[in-house]
Each structure stands twice: as structure tokens, then as C-alpha cells.
Amino acid sequence: MSAIEPTMIDQTTGPTAGHATKERRAAWVLTAPALILMVVILLGPVIIAGVLSFTNYSLGNSSFDWVGTQNYEKLFTRSTYEKMFVATLTYVVTVVPISVGLGLGAALLINSLGRFREIYKTIYFLPVMATLLAMAIAWEFMLHPSIGMVNRTLEMGCGTFLEQIWSFMSQGCADRFPVWLGDKRYAIWVICFIGIWQGFGFNMVLYLAGLTSVHRELYHAAEMDGARSAWERFRLVTWPALGPTTVFVVTITCIRAFQVFDTIEAFWPQGGGPNKSTYVMMFAIFEKGVQQNLIGIGSAITMLFLLFVMFLTLIQRWLVERKVHYK
């Protein structure tokens, strides 16, 4: 908190000791409201959750017992939580690279357009603006095994050449097409797909903003220096210039991916998908902490979640300061 100590000292006359103390006190008084709010709203709950994660507290109980690291031990030993980690990591590792890549690709394509830029921008941004819960209901209808649009469309491919070249098609036509939301092989990938569909427009907008800061003369310099192909110009100019944007986009996408919840809650309100295959961290926190009122274990998952996010933020800070901060 040294930053808030008074630094404007009158150097010509030299402050008296009393004057300096008075000023320091005034500085503390003036910053107190902000400090108190920060502690009460932001730091307090985190600390409380941290404390509760070592207890067996339930909401409504007047007391609780200390259980030590029991909650954490459960997290790392029980198969339910193993499934939680698998589902969360699968989702993050799939959604982050693809939605960042698609966002960048869309931004580059839109940026190269002369006309219709705004239209494309709006179209790709639509899923970001939509409520994911409402969208999930629409997706649920589309993915319905018998009357859904997806399987109906796939059925149209039966009897065509697609059946010969794609084993998925031939199997689907012979037997039936997958029950997307009821099959543990597909459920997490459906969630990933919706996550990408919903999220890449946001990344695209961030990349579009990043692209405006790329100096046009750099492309000309690259051309003069002998960069003939678009790929070489991208490597030499665009990609390095987008470094800070990329770090930000990846971090934001990671955090959002860790937070995935509403699609899963909409599709499987009871229990995190077929055979817990989509039992992601956020849903686990919700199920344990809210539905089952097991505050202790819910807090433990929350702390773990915070740890992941903090770790990502630290990596981002390190990258921004060391690697991509050119100026």
C-alpha cells in the first residue's frame, strides 16, 4: 500500500514532521472507503471460502467441525472428481485453441474485406450477445436424436457416396445416428462445439481491435525486404504485432472456458451429463455447494478453481512483461 502514501512533498521549504504525519493520515482516510470495499467485496469472500474449505460446514448449521485437508483429499482420490478434472481440461484444451484460432482467422478475413465488414462482424458476434441458456434450449432441439435438425440433415446423406467414404455415416444409416446429448462419447464434444460457436466471435472482435494497431508501413517494409507470400508477411508483421492481443485473448478464453456452466446446467440439470462426462468444475461447485449444501467441499473446488485462474493470470503477466511488450 506504499503507492497511496503521499509523495508530493514540497521540496523548497521542507515539510515539518507534524505536517507530514497529517498528510499521511489524510491519505489513509481518503483511501479508506475504497480499501474497505475491496476487502469486504473481493478479498473477504475469498478468505472465507478458503477457511470453509477446511470444514464440513453446511448452510443453516450453527457450527462446523474442522476436517483438515479431508475435502482436498476427496478431490484427488474420488473418481467423480477425476471425471471433473478430465471434463474441465478436455473442454479447456479443445475450446481455447480452436476458438482463438477461429477468432484470429475470422478477424484476418474480415480485415481484408473492403465492404460488408460490419455485416460479417455482426453475424459472428451474434452468438456472443445471445443468452447461452436460451441458445442451449435451441441447441437441445436441434440435437434431438429423432426430430432434431442435425440428425435429420445427416439422414439426408444416407444412400449417397458419403456412406462409402465416411464410416460414421454408414454406421449411422445402418443403425441410427448418435443420441448427441445422451451418449458419453459425444456429450463433452457437443459442449465444446457450442462453446467454440459461442465464444470465437468475441475473440474475433478483440483481434480486429488488435489488427487496427498494426502499422501499415510495416507491411510495405516487409514487401520491400522480400516477403513475397501472405504467410511470410503474417509471420514477420501481423503475428508479432498481435502478441499482446493474443496473450489477452488466450487468458480471457481460458478463464471463460474454466467457467463453462450454463449449457451443462441447461442440458443436464441433474448431474453433469451421461456418466458424468461433462461434469465440469463450475457445475461441481454448483452441485456440491448449492444443490447438496456441502459448503466445505464446494469451497475446496472453488479454491482449486481460483488457483487455476490465478496461475493463468500470472503466466499472462509474465508473458506481457517479458515477451510481447516491445515498447
Binding site: M224, R228, V237, P240, Y326
Partner: protein, 385 residues
């Protein structure tokens, strides 16, 4: 090293015609400045030579061969940009190496990690490093090679941009206002250094600037451009002393040349403010004309003179003073250059009379073209007339 030849180049951006048929021949090893006010098309012409822009018609030849349809990367020209356009993520050494890596190494050899394992990549990297050091030494930036452009001052960045341009020995250098982002002192210093560099490299330089002082001090020839045309292309002293057009005379020279209205009498005799001069036109020009007088051709006089007025402003530059004089009958003030010893006699509000050397006066017709065919009228004939 090569000569450049520009033939009837035109360029339109939509409805606006930026270049209206520009032709210019630049000899091998020559330093030519394209100078003109902003929007005159000088930068566009440079970019067309570079290949970054395509002309609507006309031809560019580099070293005798037409470069029509050839892209910028294949023209073997180097360019220094106004913003320097250094790659911010690469160190100074890497920046200078880029044109060599792009041209000498294959795509595989340039790969970030695997590139070094490709056959021949090591030796090539060494050769490139050697060339980079040589260029850095020439520009005295060897100690900066490991820094990023963001850590450099404007002048140092400018040198790096020059280094990147000269490291691969191009056919010609194209410089697009390279000094305009430097402070005044550094600009003067770098000006001299670029001129020296040109003498040392003996390569063709095409230099775009809006600063006439830069053009005057560095060039073998100056091409004055205005409104998409080259008005005159000649050596700096010719441009200054013997301009073809009034626009050229007005653009070159600081402070600006004094332009006074002239009347051409029926006998061709010129008169200034109803005062007959000892000069007459030979051809049939009649009516109005203009008289161009450089500030240094004017001098104070006690005798009879049509130019009489009052000192309204003066600028003391130490070695000389520029005095603005409001002359009765003229809309614009007349600027006079005087030595510092005259300072006391030229206080504000002083009434002065100005005389000038008729041989150094430049006469332009109503369209702004220079009238060179003049004859002296002796005072005796004048009085008889």
C-alpha cells in the same frame, strides 16, 4: 547500382488524378530529390517506383529493363520509410538481417527452431551476421545490435532503418521523408550523414521530402513537383537562381521570394507600381506579369525608388536579419535580407526605400512561366521614349 527511368507515369485514385504524366531520368549513382508541398504526388511516385503502388499508365525502367508487373520484393530496391517501419519484436541486428534472410535463405532454413538444422543454414547465418556487422559499423550502431527498436531514440532508429536498407546493396535507395520525425538539430546532422553515405556508396538515391532545405543541401538534382507534375528538374543552384516557373521560385528559398506585380506596356517595357524599369520583354507579352525578387537581391537605398515602405516586422537570426516591409500599393509585405550591422537602422516603423539589381530579377508572365527573353533599356532611351 542502376539508373532509373520514369516515362509518362500517371496515377489515379478514384476520380483524383495524382500523377499527370511524370517523366524523369535518374542517372546511375545520382542523388535526386523529389520535393513539393504535401499532396503533390511525390510519395506516390516513389511508391510506384518501389512497386508498392501500381501506375495507371507509363513505364518504369530500372537499369534499362522495364519492371512492369514486377512486384516490390523482386525489384531489388531498398526503401527507408518515414516511420522507419522497424519490426518491433526483432532486435536491431535481426531487423537489419531481415532483407538478407528473406532473399538468401529458403523457407525451410528460416523456420524458427528447425531452420538451423537445415543443410547450409549455419554457414549462411554466419555470412548474414558478417554483413549485418559491416552495415552496423558503417552507421556506427554496432553497440545497438542487441537492443529492440523500442529502446532506441529517434535518431538511432533512423540509422537502423538506413542499415536495413543498405545491408543488401540494392540497385537504388528510395527514401520517403526519412528525417521528418527527427528534431531540428539531429535533422541537420543526419542530412550531412546521408549525403556522405551517398558519396561513399555511389548508388542511386531517390529522396522524397517537403523540406526544400534538405533537397537543396543533399541533392545532385531536385525535381520540384506540384499538382502531379514535375515542374522543373535541375541542379539545386539552377532551381534557386534560374527557376522555370513562379511556383518553383516560390517553393524553393526561405524566406519566400518576393513576388511583385508588373505591368507590361505597349512597347514591352516593364513597370513596377507605375514606375518604369530599365527592362522590356522581347516577345509579344503584354498586360500583367510578375517580378520575382529574392530577399538578398533587395538593398536599402537613399535614392529614388518605387519600393517605399515601413518596417513592420523583423527576425534576427544572428548572422542575418530578415525584415518585412509594408510597401504602399502592395498587398503583400516585401522581405529584405540584411546584415546584422543594419539592425539599428531597421527598427520597427522606420521608413525605408528599397532598390534591387535588375539583372537578378526574375520575370514571369501572367501564367507563371518564366520570361527569359528580356532586353535592357538604357535610361537615355527610356527618357526619349
Amino acid at each position: 547500382m542502376a539508373e532509373l527511368s520514369i516515362k509518362n507515369v500517371t496515377k489515379r485514385f478514384g476520380e483524383t488524378e495524382v500523377l499527370k504524366g511524370v517523366s524523369l531520368d535518374i542517372a546511375d549513382g545520382e542523388f535526386v530529390s523529389l520535393v513539393g508541398p504535401s499532396g503533390c504526388g511525390k510519395s506516390t511516385l516513389l511508391r510506384i517506383i518501389a512497386g508498392l503502388e501500381e501506375q495507371n499508365s507509363g513505364d518504369i525502367r530500372i537499369g534499362g529493363t522495364s519492371v512492369a508487373g514486377q512486384r516490390a520484393a523482386d525489384r531489388n530496391l531498398s526503401m527507408v520509410f518515414q516511420s522507419y517501419a522497424l519490426y518491433p519484436h526483432l532486435s536491431v541486428g535481426e531487423n537489419i538481417a531481415v532483407p538478407l534472410r528473406m532473399r538468401r535463405m529458403s523457407g525451410l532454413q528460416r523456420l524458427p527452431l528447425l531452420g538451423g538444422l537445415m543443410p547450409g543454414a549455419r554457414a549462411m547465418a554466419r555470412a548474414i551476421g558478417h554483413d549485418v556487422h559491416r552495415a552496423a559499423e558503417m552507421l556506427e550502431i554496432r553497440h545497438l545490435l542487441d537492443r529492440k527498436p523500442g529502446q532506441l531514440s529517434g535518431g538511432q532508429r533512423q540509422r537502423v532503418a538506413l542499415g536495413r536498407a543498405l545491408v543488401r546493396e540494392p540497385a537504388a535507395f528510395l527514401l520517403d521523408e526519412p528525417l521528418s520525425n527527427l528534431d531540428a538539430k539531429l535533422r541537420v546532422q543526419t542530412r550531412a550523414e546521408i549525403a556522405q553515405l551517398h558519396r561513399r556508396l555511389e548508388t542511386t538515391f531517390v529522396y522524397v521530402t517537403h523540406d526544400q532545405v534538405e533537397a537543396m543541401t543533399m541533392s545532385d538534382r531536385i525535381a520540384v513537383m506540384m499538382g502531379g507534375r514535375i515542374l522543373q528538374c535541375a541542379a539545386p543552384d539552377v532551381i534557386y537562381e534560374d527557376p522555370d516557373r513562379i511556383e518553383v521560385a516560390e517553393f524553393i528559398g526561405s524566406p519566400k521570394i518576393n513576388i511583385l506585380p508588373l505591368e507590361v506596356g505597349d512597347d514591352g517595357r516593364l513597370s513596377l507600381l507605375d514606375h518604369a524599369l530599365n527592362l522590356a520583354v522581347i516577345d509579344g507579352t503584354r498586360g500583367v506579369a510578375s517580378l520575382g525578387l529574392r530577399p538578398e537581391t533587395l538593398r536599402l537605398t537613399r535614392g529614388k525608388s518605387p519600393l517605399r515602405g515601413r518596417v513592420v516586422h523583423s527576425e534576427n537570426l544572428g548572422a542575418e536579419i530578415f525584415v518585412q516591409i509594408e510597401v504602399a500599393g502592395l498587398a503583400e509585405r516585401v522581405t529584405l535580407r540584411a546584415g546584422p550591422e543594419k539592425r539599428n537602422t531597421l527598427a520597427l516603423g522606420t521608413s525605408v526605400a528599397l532598390d534591387f539589381d535588375i539583372d537578378k530579377a526574375l520575370v514571369f508572365d501572367a501564367d507563371g512561366a518564366r520570361l527569359r527573353k528580356l532586353r535592357h533599356v538604357t535610361r537615355a532611351t527610356a527618357e526619349v521614349a
